[in-house]
Assembly symmetry: C2
Homo-oligomer: 352 residues x 2
C-alpha cells in the first residue's frame, strides 16, 4: 500500500465521548450554559479530534507551502511570477505578515518549496520538497501528472507526520504561489459543479479586465478537462497546484495522527476541500478561520460545512487568518482548563 493509500484509510473517527465530556465540564464553569458559543465548540472539537478531555495549550506550527503555476502565463495575476520565490525568501527572513502573526500567537513557521520556478537560493529556513519547477498551464493541458499529484500529497503527509512526531498538536496551513487563486477557482468549480464566474475573484488585486480574463481562463480549463468530481485525484492533477496538493497532504497526514488543522483563506481551504474529497473523514479535523473576500471561499466553506470565526476582509493567504485563529484555539482550551466551576466559586447555578 502506498503512503497515500495508507493515510486515507487510517484517519480515525472522532471521539464523541471526549467531545461530550468536555461540554459537561464547560457546563460546570461559572457562566450561563453555552454562553461562550463557538469558543466552546472549538474546545469540544479539539477534544474529539485529540481523543481526550485533557487539552494543554497546543504546540503550534504553520505550514506554508509555495509553488508556481504555469497558468500565470495567461496574465491572470496582478503580480509577476518571480514574486513567489521572492516572497518565500521574505518568509525565510521573517519579514512577511505570516511571520509577524506567527510570532504573535507563538507558532513556528514551516516553509516548504513544493515547486517554485527557477533557481531558489538555498536557505536553511526553506525545506525543499520540489516535485516540479511549477505546474503546466492548466488552461492548455493537465497541470500535473497523476504521479506528481500523488508525490505532492505524500510530501505533505510526510511533513505533517514529522511535525506530529516532534510534538506539534495544532497545524495551520498557508500558501504562496502567483496564480494559485486561478487553480483554486478551477478546482472548486470542478468539485462543486458551478461555473467559472461563480468561483473566480480578483485574487491579489486584478482590475476588471484582468478578472474577465481570469474567468475565461478558468472556464477554458473546465471545458478542456471536463473533470469528474467523483475522481478527486484526477481533478487535482488536471487543475491543482503543487502547493495545493501538498497542503491537502498536510491535512490528511495531520488527520491520520489526530491533529487538528486550521484552514486559511481561499487557497488553503481549497486544499482542505481536496483532502475532504479524497477522504470524507478529513473534514472533521478541519477548523475554520476567517471569511475571505475571495468569492469562491464561501462555496468551499459551505461544502466543508464550516462557519468562519473572523470577518476581517483578508485576502492575503500565507496562513494569516489561520494564524489569528490559533489564538482563538488557545483561548478555548484555556477556558476549559483555567475557569472556576460554580461549585469552586460559590456562585448560584440555575442551570440556565
Amino acid at each position: 500500500m502506498t503512503l497515500l493509500e495508507h493515510t486515507l484509510t487510517s484517519i480515525p473517527p472522532l471521539d464523541h465521548e471526549a467531545d461530550r465530556q468536555v461540554q459537561v465540564l464547560l457546563d460546570k464553569k461559572t457562566k450561563p450554559r453555552r454562553s461562550l458559543g463557538k469558543l466552546e465548540d472549538i474546545a469540544c472539537q479539539v477534544a474529539a479530534i485529540r481523543g481526550t478531555v485533557h487539552l494543554p495549550v497546543p504546540q503550534k506550527a504553520i505550514v506554508v507551502m509555495a509553488a508556481d503555476h504555469g497558468v500565470a502565463e495567461e496574465g491572470i495575476s496582478a503580480y509577476p511570477q518571480e514574486v513567489t520565490a521572492q516572497m518565500l525568501l521574505n518568509f525565510a527572513r521573517g519579514g512577511a505578515a505570516i511571520n509577524v502573526l506567527a510570532r504573535h500567537v507563538g507558532a513556528k513557521v514551516v516553509l516548504v518549496d513544493m515547486g517554485v520556478k527557477g533557481d531558489l537560493p538555498k536557505v536553511p529556513e526553506v525545506r525543499s520538497l520540489r516535485v516540479a519547477p511549477g505546474t503546466q498551464n492548466l488552461s492548455r493541458c493537465q497541470a500535473m501528472t497523476r504521479e506528481q499529484a500523488v508525490a505532492s500529497l505524500e510530501r505533505g503527509i510526510q511533513v505533517a507526520g514529522e511535525l506530529v512526531d516532534e510534538g506539534i498538536s495544532l497545524i495551520a496551513i498557508g500558501d504562496m504561489g502567483i496564480g494559485n487563486t486561478t487553480s483554486s477557482s478551477a478546482l472548486v468549480a470542478a468539485f462543486m459543479g458551478v461555473s467559472s464566474s461563480e468561483v473566480t475573484g480578483r485574487g491579489t488585486g486584478l482590475d476588471d479586465a484582468g478578472l474577465f480574463r481570469k474567468i475565461a481562463v478558468v472556464q477554458r480549463a473546465l471545458d478542456l478537462h471536463r473533470p469528474d468530481p467523483s475522481r478527486p485525484l484526477d481533478v487535482l492533477a488536471c487543475l491543482g497546484g503543487l502547493e495545493i496538493a501538498g497542503l491537502a497532504g498536510v491535512v490528511l497526514g495531520a488527520a491520520a495522527r489526530r491533529v487538528p488543522v486550521i484552514m486559511d483563506g481561499f487557497i488553503a481551504s481549497t486544499a482542505a476541500l481536496v483532502a475532504a474529497r479524497l477522504s470524507p473523514r478529513a473534514k472533521d479535523y478541519l477548523i475554520a478561520s476567517h471569511r475571505s473576500v475571495e468569492v469562491g471561499h464561501r462555496l468551499v466553506l459551505k461544502s466543508l460545512e464550516k462557519r468562519p470565526y473572523f470577518d476581517l476582509d483578508l485576502r492575503l493567504g500565507e496562513g494569516t487568518g489561520a494564524a489569528l485563529t490559533m489564538g482563538l484555539v488557545d483561548a478555548a482550551v484555556k477556558i476549559l482548563s483555567e475557569m472556576a466551576t460554580f461549585e469552586d466559586a460559590g456562585v448560584s447555578d440555575t442551570g440556565a
Copy 2:
C-alpha cells in the same frame, strides 16, 4: 464646569493625518494593498486616535463594572440577583471567563463595584465606587436620579483618567449585573425609537415565557417614561444601570485622553451608545469586537456604524469579546511595526 461637562467638551477630533500616514506605511509592506483588510483599518484607527504613527504594542486594561438592577424583581433574568455579587467576587479570585481571556491577551482586569446590592465583602481586587445599592425598578419609576446618573458617568471618567495616567493605552469595557440586558434593551429602544420586541432577547438564558415577560417589562418602562432620545442624560437616568452609566463614563474619559475603547457585547455596546449620544465624537474612539447573539446588539452596532470582527455566538458579557479583540489590535500594530517593506525585502511591487 463639572467633570462631565469638561470631558464632553474636551474630546479631540481624530488625527486623520496620522491615519493617512499609517496607510501609506502599510502600502509599502510586502503584501497586496489593503489585503489585510480590517487589520489595516484597526491600525489606521488607533493611529488616528493616538495622534501618531508610532504605535507600540498597547498597555491594556479591561474595566469590568458591576451593579444591580431594581428591575430584577420583575423576574426578567434566568439568574437570581445575588449572582452579581458572587460573580464580582469570582472575578476578584481570577476564576471567571474574563480573567482567563485577560491573561490570554496580557491585559489587566480592573474591577469596579458601581452599586451591587447588599453587603459585598471588602476585597482588594474590587474598587468600590458605589453610587447606590442598585437601581430602582425602571418599569415602575426612574432607575436613577439625574444626580446618580451624572455621578456614575463621572466615576467612569475618573477610572479611565487614572488608567491613562498609569500608562494604559487600550481599554476594553465589560459588565456584570443581573437584569442589565433589560436595562440595555430599554435604553436602545428609547434611543433608536424602536419597539421593545425588536431589542429584547433571552439574556443569559430565558425561556419563552421569561422572554415574553421581559418584552412586556421593557415596553411598560418605555410607556411609563416616554423618554426623549434628544436628552440622553434623562434617558440614562430613567432606564440605565449604574454600571452602564459608569462604562459610558469610561468611554468618554478614555476618548478625552485619546485612548481607544473596545466595546464588548450588548450591554457594553449600549454603554458606548450612551457615550456617543452624550458626545458624538466619542464614537470615533470605539473599536468594535464581536457580534453577540443578543438581538439588540445589531441595532447598537448599526447606530454606532461599527462592524464586528468576530462571529462567535458569545452572550456572556464581562468584556470577553472585547478581550479577544485586544489580541487583534496587538496583531494590527505589530503588522505596522514588524513587517518588511517591498524595498527591504527585494520583492517586486506592482502597486496592486
